[in-house]
Symmetry: D2
Subunit: 350 residues, 4 copies
């Protein structure tokens, strides 16, 4: 391949296959026979490891294949028909799930975000507005809270923030659900002070993302309090989210939770994203905002954008103004240091 | 391992991983970067091969992860809100999808099966009953037909039968949808006279099953007439059925449709199922009914059933009478001849 | 009007307006101002009277406008997403609600009827089949029972039968819901031994039909145990079933529950239906089956059917055989004795 | 009654029964027998009159009982599963229908309102944003537009504005639906320049409100182009919105469309609302904003609010600031001039 024309791809964090340990395991176990639908030994072993990592020995754990599917299934399972889910207006469920939440009958009740996050105070305000509205029986009742960690803006809730949100939820007896599609990149951040155990303690349901964090695919739904969602297995099946060869999910999470792989797999991505941020600023360009995880949001003038696009694949984020654009560069566990170095060199001559 | 105590498993046809070619491909391409959501080159190449195999060069092809998901997504996409789907009472959607069809708002309109099949005449009758009912505007309108090939009873529609059903559907302007979860086992049958090209010609939508037919997972939805379902990509996303790393589906179907693998992969399973049937009868036992594919339905008296269960894993099908039970033994592309031979020996001394 | 050509109409029991007391009340109160959505004094007074008639002083009572709407709203409110409703295959929800139950995501799990009824034993069997099915997590869980009293065949559950069904439901912790669209005609039957108080004691939710029983429209949902359905007011609104001028429902039920009107309003209809049955048999014709309420099911040969249709409006029920048809003649609280006498005379010369 | 303590009620426009002509008609026709479900002669006659008033001789017209029901039914009928409805953030469907639109699977795509209205430009922008978003297949497709005339803020679209919106919809091939819950109050406004014929020409579906405009209840859905919504009768039934005694709806609309009653019935309400507005300003108080229809939005300081509440029933709208509140006073076709005069006198001494 002629490297001078090669394109660097930072378009997303789900462009490669899986961590080599997972691939090896797939190969090694390929012809082992196992029971279907998650009742196999690989899944049971993965569950045991996740329970341990989360410090919740009684947790119920289910493996699903993708994020939208997981969000739609969990939210439908948690809400009765007359309730909706509180979410930031930038939440994945608010914007990029093609109406999957509404398709199962529930309204997404949006709060304005601050860099992808919402606060305990905002949630409390929405719950109070509902209570104070004398017509509230004619409106959708807020019945749960949806957060993502890291958020769609690559930002992180602090432990303090998460505790406050959890407290509001518990005071108001509504469940807190956390979407951890990119959780490994949060856990790998030096700035992060929220552990898996914290999440398990503060949330009613959450999922540990595999698809973007080293697996081929797969998300692990953790319900710290066993039995919290009656009929959940059937609900998963009804949502078309039950994998026949559940072992495939089990063995991937078994590997991800061997030797703390999950808690470290995002480290290189975090370091490399940091290098890109530094380089970007050193070149005199503007970051859209600072954030600590594996997504870098850059403001580019449209001339340079065209040149950049010749060599680099990135994500379009939004228009900044008439002459500038916000783009997203994402690193992943699989991003090679050499590629980042070349990218930086290219930025310098842009 | 002490073989004398080893259990033979014939419990289902989704107990192993994938065909070695697929595993090899997964390994070889693991770190290749590719675009998401099915827009990658693996998927495009797989589509091209499937179009060729089906003789429909303009077909639209989408890859989903599992059967229930595929059925729910396609049926929801084909039906407006006031219509239901005609299906045999033994159809997978009628019984074993946890109400997924109803969850998207549609009634399953069941017809009594004959060994898993329904006939053109029955469908015509149901459509006529609807037309003749002067209250039909108060009832669910039959809006499409669902079949599976092979059926849940391992039987096959003949080309003649499928043509007749297709004709009734076209005359009544309702789409015909075929669930090919086990299609490879149908195509591999000497008794079968229905080709992929026939199916593509006679159905409006069908899916080629991967999960049970050599893939790790995955089903290929084929829409011979491109654009037949507006918004289908978004509908897939809304159903949580869009895989981020669509390449995983693409590369599996690329392998399955290389060198006609898909049309031959079920052959050994068919042969071995035939051997089990013969042995069963030679031992003086009764088959529940004869069928030509990879599922064998046997009647066992309950004493022998207990002994059988000590060495063999099988599927419980239904009670035959007070003293006898119907069980299912399934072979797959991965079933070893040696295991079948041992099983037969064990049957002889049962 | 030239009476010799006048048609007698026995087509249904919802052909006229309302009982004169209701019309008078409507006129008298027309310009009284009242609060909306059922919080008015008429509704409160009606509730109080119904509570008394049903012997359940704490009951929660909601007024809706029609039967299908009421069934869909109550069933959706009682079932979580993974459960379905057990009903006779002839139930209104099974056949004649245009898929309203499925539209809210729930499967109707049908049992074969005997003259419109199902038995405690059948329900118990279905619950046991579910429990015994080792794949039951892949199927729809039976989550409640739907009955109608009288049934769509004009038959009645005895107190004994209803007690047995209630017992099975309570033992299995699933709610029993009774559709009383024609309840007044049951209560007015000499053969009936089930009182409103019995129904309130044995069911978890039921509705007292107004539309077919003397009101212009309206059904009163009774929930004997207050708070049994959280969020029910909002669920009613969400189903589009909340009437702005709820007073219209309130004042109708207030009248129906003044001086035991509801328990007597069906008496003339029952007596007249009995006369039609006797006359039919005396003329040497066949009843499809005997039943004690306001619907008469007759077998007519197709020659006479044509002649009958010249003078009488009736409901088509079903084909009996090639040469005969089953028709339904319905009386109501508004049926005039003179019309019945003329009908009988006409039958004699048919 | 001691008038000095009597409360004046301006709480809503659905506090009384119906126009005397309607009541008279109900009484006169009470025992006439008629066919069910809208196939009666009253309904047919009402349809013919509405077609004439709207200048669309081929229009399909259906009568439903209430507004939320009508909105949910029409929107579900117009949208395929992957599309949502564009609406102002203050629209009835956005806020006060308890999630009825989401319950049938559709997202409400909100645009910020200006006194209850949205503009053609905003709609065009939203459609363009969707088209320009390279990820739009992952989002809900805007599939129709919802407006109300008058709006929830009592404001009116001008003919020019409505034409522009219609043009954008037609250019983009999405239907325009108009909620006319209070349409009579718009038509009766001197400021209004939009006729029924304009609405019929510019919209794909709209409803003529009865509940708030002189009927006991009822809304007439007009589909100018017959057959525009396949299966609509069944969809109405499925939504529980089909009235058994459809004649009740028919005869009300027959009266409302006799001698142009509907176009004049709101006139007194408009005049009286104008008097209240003038008096309010003359007393030195502030209107929240000026609008021309039957709802008056007033800013009151909280001291006066308490005094006002002793004699007047009104609607709470929202907090204006810490010391002031916005309230709504509504007049209707039934509001008595004497009550308004007394109200005004009371305001003067407040």
């Amino acid at each position: 391949m002629d490297n001078t024309n090669r394109k660097f791809s930072f378009a997303s964090d789900y462009m490669e296959g899986a961590h080599p340990n997972i691939i090896k395991r797939l190969v090694d176990t390929n012809l082992v026979k196992s029971a279907g639908y998650g009742s196999d030994e690989f899944s049971e072993s993965a569950r045991e490891r996740i329970r341990k990592a989360c410090g919740c020995p009684d947790a119920e754990i289910h493996f699903l294949t993708g994020g939208t599917q997981t969000n739609a299934t969990v939210i439908d399972a948690l809400l009765p028909s007359y309730q909706g889910v509180i979410a930031p207006d930038t939440g994945h469920i608010s914007l990029h799930e093609a109406g999957a939440i509404e398709a199962s009958g529930h309204k997404v009740l949006v709060l304005p975000h601050t860099l992808g996050k919402i606060s305990a105070r905002q949630i409390e305000w929405m719950l109070k507005e509902y209570q104070d509205d004398c017509n509230h029986e004619h409106t959708v009742m807020p019945g749960m809270v949806y957060l993502s960690q890291p958020t769609e803006y690559g930002t992180l809730y602090t432990l303090q923030e998460l505790q406050e949100i959890s407290q509001v939820c518990r005071k108001n007896r509504i469940p807190l659900y956390l979407d951890g599609a990119r959780l490994a990149y949060g856990l790998a951040c030096p700035e992060n002070d929220v552990t898996l155990k914290d999440i398990a303690r503060l949330c009613d349901v959450f999922y540990i993302g595999g698809t973007k964090c080293g697996a081929l695919f797969g998300e692990a739904v953790v319900i710290p309090q066993k039995g919290r969602i009656p009929g959940f297995f059937t609900i998963i099946k009804q949502h078309g989210a039950l994998m026949a060869k559940g072992r495939l999910l089990g063995l991937q999470f078994e590997e991800l939770f061997t030797d703390d792989l999950y808690e470290h797999i995002g480290e290189s991505a975090i370091a490399l994203a940091g290098e890109i941020r530094e380089a970007w600023k050193q070149c005199g360009y503007q970051l859209y905002f600072e954030n600590p995880t594996n997504q870098v949001f850059c403001v580019v003038d449209n001339c340079r954008l065209a040149k950049l696009a010749e060599r680099v694949e990135f994500g379009f984020w939004e228009k900044y103004d008439e002459s500038r654009t916000v783009i997203r560069l994402a690193t992943s566990w699989a991003t090679r240091e050499a590629d980042v170095k070349e990218l930086i060199q290219f930025l310098r001559v842009l």
